[in-house]
Amino acid sequence: MEKRKIRDGFATFLIHSISLISLVILALIVYDIFSKGYIAFKEVGFTNFIFGRKYYPTMDPPSFGIFNFIVSSIFVTLGSILVGLPLGVGSAIFLSEYANLKTKEILKPFIEILSSIPSVIFGFIGIVFIGPFIRRFFNIPTGLNLFTASFILGIVIIPIISSLTEDALSTVPSTLKEASYALGGTKFDTITRVVIPYTKGALISALLLGIGRSIGETMIVLMVAGGAMNFPNSIFSPVRPLTSTIAAEMGETAVGTTHFYVLYGIALVLLFLTLILTLISNRFIKNLKRE
């Protein structure tokens, strides 16, 4: 009996302490990125770093303004939302309001599969297939640009938006919908005036998570966004978002140089953006659960 108690106590202690590993890891990541990124902010200066338009890491003297990368990230992300939001929400409405059980069982795995495809595969098809197609179709100098990157990222975030939206739609009490039908509401009325308002919070959080995924996606933009460091002045400009700047340059940067810390500074900007997005969307999901 005594032995059993000791064993249980030990197991409980072990479970508690191992569980803290995630907490420690998060703290280490934030600390690491912050402490190195901070050096970039200090050496380059906050305004020069965030709002500088010139980025010449290897010139003498070098300049490290990442404004164009920030703008590129924002544009690519907005573009992806324009593609991913309607398709994600639309297919979720189809699955939860229009499809019968059988169609649903066939279609849902499709969307799940879409979410499991590695991003390097999207990037690869972007380079060899979609990019060349877009170049010919619009008759532009390069098919690897803002438009192509947004389009592919939009497809990548469909499953995130779709599955969260569908979860949310399924929480709408059927009595509410029935009440709407009883009052003579059509399916369209019911969806737009009952279902969507009821799930507004979840839809916003799906949107935020989609944005977070788009902003943080690396391989796809590295491969298909074109890589030019200029300010994007058309939807067909080749661009270079924050993530691909890090991925493209880290391999060739000497440890401990300003350039090295600048890449961590870019990561700090990214980390800051994604932390805010996750925390806000988490709030919305929590509120939904409480209701």
Partner: protein, 282 residues
């Protein structure tokens, strides 16, 4: 008027669904069409030759295999234990809330940041160099929140009556967990394992600076060797090198192998889950 609106909306919803499905096909069809030829057995089991212009991807397959297995060995036990804590203990509340928030936060961090962290922490600080070990540890961190979340869900789906029955027979909390909760949730936990393996196998950004090399004619000898990996190899084939006309077909084949691997893993997870749902009697 009302009818037109009604019909229009319905058509719109159908169109978005059709576009969603076809967008999946845009990516799958070219790879299946161009990738399957000459896969067996040459491509899978030979080494790359002449830079990246000829030969197979054997070292990349072995590298991806090692990275996936090792990182799972690191992350899965920690993930399951954390999930047990969250699902079964759940006290003290402030700690659980803190832990849950940090897990959600971790899962939202871009994979390239994990790569940078792996570089400065494992590669530089602990002097593990660019190696199988650094890469696996980085991937383990990345997969941890995914594993925790799905295992937690699995454990929560175990009916509380099962546990109450165990308690009433005099089982302690720990005994209930390892004799009832984990065995009952086991198929679901297995599904989580499969899905996380599929996710890790396809990751590129986290291993770029921590483990991967583009070209190797040897298999990794130890934990401190650099390794080739299928996803990074695909990236290299289409972005580096001088003869795209030779490299793109190899990239198609490599993409086919990676896609097939990920699809098989995911389909088996989906099948296990569907079967489970049918068999479940509670």
């Amino acid at each position: 008027m009302k009818k037109i609106k009604e019909k229009g909306f319905e058509i719109l919803i159908y169109i978005t669904t059709i576009l969603t499905i076809s967008s999946l096909l845009i990516f799958l069809v070219p790879i299946f069409k161009n990738g399957y030829r000459g896969i067996l057995p040459d491509f899978l089991f030979t080494f790359p030759k002449n830079g990246m212009t000829e030969g197979g991807i054997f070292p990349a397959i072995v590298g991806t295999f090692y990275l996936t297995i090792l990182s799972t060995i690191f992350s899965f036990p920690v993930g399951v234990i954390t999930a047990v804590y969250l699902a079964e203990y759940g006290k003290p509340k402030f700690l659980v809330d803190l832990l849950k928030t940090s897990i959600t936060t971790l899962s939202g961090i871009p994979s390239i940041i994990f790569g940078l962290f792996g570089l400065s922490f494992f590669v530089i600080k602990f002097s593990l160099e660019v190696s199988l070990l650094s890469g696996s540890l980085t991937l383990a961190i990345l997969s941890l929140p995914i594993i925790i979340k799905s295992v937690e869900e699995s454990l929560k789906s175990v009916p509380i009556t099962f546990k109450e029955a165990a308690y009433s027979l005099g089982c302690s909390k720990f005994e209930t967990i390892y004799k009832i909760s984990i065995p009952v949730a086991f198929p679901n936990i297995l599904t989580s394992l499969i899905l996380s393996v599929g996710r890790i196998a396809g990751e590129t950004a986290p291993i770029m600076f921590t483990a991967a090399t583009l070209y190797s004619r040897k298999l990794p000898k130890s934990l401190s060797s650099e390794v080739m990996a299928i996803p990074y190899h695909i990236y290299g084939l289409v972005t580096e090198g001088v003869s795209p006309e030779k490299q793109v077909p190899i990239a198609y084949k490599s993409a086919f192998v990676l896609l097939l691997l990920v699809l098989i893993l995911n389909l088996s997870a989906i099948l296990i889950r569907q079967r489970l749902r049918r068999q479940r009697k509670w």
